[in-house]
């Protein structure tokens, strides 16, 4: 699912410092925020929208499409289960350091309710010129411009750098899909690639991967059958094995998840792999036709 202007967004944890800051940015950008959740402030208004006691309560009053969580790690599971019970189509989970067994319960609940989880530990989703949900600088016009390239990233900071490079090269973005830096995420690189492949507004895809796990290898299998051009940058070539490089999912252990395996799989699938992020726009431009 790609976030559109008409998608109704509910912000869980809207009254907190970060919830307030980013919700205001989203509203200014044009996102349809229909309300927020804080059980202690139910019945009040915040940023001009109603605050509900739960997502389930919110859905009864004003059905929504997307739940966005500004919730601390140990409370994240309850909030996610609430969003699933409320029938959210999409749940954007920004929270990092949620206990893994809680994350598994979240995924089980989402599978039962038909909710797509993006994250945990994502920086969110941006549809330039339309809407955004999360903690990305969608409003910074040097970074984000509407255009033909779909971007998939495990990292918010690296995703920002990649979009900046694309915009500098005159390539705007159709969608920024932040999938998250955790090892057990709801929407994988391959899932996001499939979504962008089916999006008529996306003409080419940039994948920002990282060492650790096998998501890039699985995405390569899908990319091999795609007509749209795909280019990638994989972070972590210079990282030592056996260390968690900041993200819980970014670790090479027992020779698995290393840079070489990912690059090989992507190149074998016809994906151009950049050595540094600045090479990515030209690799994509060379493969786009009629632009």
């Amino acid at each position: 699912m790609i976030i559109r202007k008409n998608h109704k967004i509910l912000v869980q944890g809207i009254t907190g410092k970060q919830g307030t800051f980013w919700t205001r940015e989203m509203q200014t950008y044009g996102a349809s925020v229909i309300g927020g959740v804080n059980p202690k402030k139910a019945g009040t208004e915040h940023l001009g929208v109603p605050v509900y006691g739960s997502a389930v309560e919110a859905a009864k009053q004003d059905p929504f499409d997307v739940a966005l969580m500004f919730i601390p790690p140990l409370a994240a599971k309850a909030a996610a289960l609430d969003a699933c019970a409320a029938g959210a189509k999409l749940l954007v989970c920004l929270t990092e350091h949620i206990p893994a067994q809680d994350v598994m319960e979240m995924h089980a609940a989402a599978a039962a309710s038909g909710t797509r989880i993006v994250g945990p530990n994502t920086a969110g989703l941006v549809t330039p010129g339309e809407s955004f949900a999360g903690i990305m600088p969608a409003f910074n016009k040097r970074v984000f411009q509407p255009g033909p390239i779909g971007v998939i990233s495990r990292s918010g900071s690296l995703g920002t750098l990649i979009c900046l490079n694309l915009t500098n090269a005159g390539l705007g973005q159709s969608v920024f899909y932040g999938i998250g830096g955790d090892p057990m995420i709801g929407t994988t690189t391959r899932d996001a690639l499939e979504i962008l492949d089916q999006d008529p507004g996306t003409q080419g895809v940039a994948i920002c991967g990282e060492i650790g796990g096998s998501m890039e290898e699985e995405a390569a299998e899908y990319a091999a059958g795609m007509k749209k051009p795909v280019a990638a940058f994989i972070a972590g070539r210079a990282s030592p094995p056996g260390k968690k490089m900041g993200h819980a999912g970014a670790i090479v252990s027992g020779g698995k998840g290393d840079y070489g395996s990912k690059r090989k799989a992507l190149e074998a699938a016809g994906v151009a792999v950049a050595d540094v992020p600045s090479q990515l726009p030209s690799l994509l431009a060379a493969r786009l036709t009629g632009l």
């Binding site: 949620i98 089980a108 600088p137 918010g156 210079a238 490089m245 600045s278």
Partner: protein, 379 residues
């Protein structure tokens, strides 16, 4: 977060999985005394690595004297970078068969998986390669847990030295302990069947999920110390993620992905990164201690500051770095490249306070930092 055998086994015992009688000791004399009480024993080095046996860190002893001699050799030994300070003195068990049992998080299914194999004792990946069919793999629904029936079904068709029922019970208990203690991995290798058909866990590996640490304070207190350099330990105490590398270009960036990418770019342009060090938006007040730690690394010849603010405001981070730089006045060159949230203010601050012009392109900043560190700086 990893645990040594002596700290992991009580979790099994509490779940009702038998473990041999044992005692922890830190001196050869204490080992001899323990052996006198326990009888024929095994002296086992307590370090959080799987390479103890091959390194000579596990020895059988028939008498207290023998146990003491082994302890003299084992205590102080270096195994896989860990110095042995403690040994476990454990009663010997008459072994009829050795199995493998584990519960772990499976990223592919986003659910727990229970593993069981009759090829215990050896490295489990090695065993799985030798005979993939010998490894039984049971995906578990996190909401339903592992039922006795599912455990029995997993063991179906295996020739076992103990009753299938007892082993199925053991797997259910192992799963319950995995859930109760927020394990990322809970493994018994070997799970032995004794000559009189009893089941005993001879070794146990427990990894606590880092995310669950705040709700498992009693366990955290018993975790094995991480293998860290002095500077890494200092950073950890300050709440920063710092990893020491061998190179000469210091790295200060925000976000895991960008920090790794900065290291990659330094390498690509002919340099070598000195460290991984990430300061996020919330950690900006820590930029002074971050810089102090980074600059204590004697190999550093230049510093590269790369900010790309999404959540993290670059103006706030830049302000912290500038204050720290002015206070510390390091005698190495520093190179900035700043983009994203708050970049106009951040660039202005760096120009005004430090008289340094940040680079617009990251590649240019990286190449300048590599050159200043005495590297080749070629693409």
């Amino acid at each position: 977060m990893n645990f040594e055998e002596y700290a992991a086994k009580p979790l099994l015992a509490a779940a009702g999985i038998p473990v041999p009688p044992s005692r922890l000791a830190e001196t050869p004399a204490a080992v001899a005394a323990a052996a006198a009480d326990i009888g024929p024993c095994v002296v086992k080095a307590q370090v959080p690595t799987g390479k103890r046996g091959k390194a000579g860190g596990i020895k059988l002893a028939a008498t207290p004297e023998e146990a003491q001699t082994h302890a003299e050799a084992i205590i102080g030994m270096n195994i896989d970078g860990h110095r042995v300070a403690k040994v476990l003195v454990e009663a010997q068990v008459p072994i009829a068969a050795e199995y493998y049992a584990a519960v772990l998080n499976d990223p592919a299914s986003r659910a727990p998986v229970v593993l069981f194999s009759t090829m215990g004792g050896m490295d489990v990946e090695e065993a799985a390669e030798k005979d993939p069919s010998a490894m039984r793999r049971v995906p578990v629904s996190i909401n339903e847990g592992l039922s006795k029936d599912a455990a029995l079904a997993a063991l179906d068709g295996l020739a076992l030295a103990a009753s299938t029922d007892d082993i199925a019970d053991c797997l259910v208990k192992l799963y319950d302990a995995y859930r109760r203690h927020d394990a990322e991995l809970l493994e018994i290798n070997p799970l032995v069947v004794t000559q009189d058909q009893r089941i005993v866990a001879l070794d146990c590996k427990f990894t606590l999920d880092d995310g669950a640490a705040p709700r498992q304070p009693d366990l955290v207190a018993q975790a094995a110390p991480e293998k860290l350099t002095a500077l890494e330990a200092e950073a950890q105490a300050a709440g920063l993620k710092y990893i020491e590398l061998g190179g000469s270009v210091g790295v200060l960036a925000n976000g895991a992905g960008l920090t790794m990418t900065t290291m990659d770019a330094i390498t690509h342009f002919g340099g070598a990164p000195a460290n991984f060090l990430e300061i996020g938006g919330e950690a900006y007040t820590k930029s002074k201690v971050a810089l102090e730690i980074l600059l204590k690394n004697p190999n550093i010849r230049s510093l590269l500051v790369n900010f790309c603010g999404a959540f993290a405001r670059t103006d706030v981070m830049a302000e912290g770095v500038i204050k720290a730089w002015q206070a510390l006045q390091p005698d190495i060159p520093v190179f900035f490249t700043i983009h994203g949230t708050g970049e106009d203010e951040a660039v202005e601050l760096v120009k005004r306070e430090l008289g340094i012009e940040p680079y617009d392109l990251m590649d240019d900043a990286v190449q300048a930092a590599v050159r200043a560190a005495g590297g080749e700086a070629s693409a």
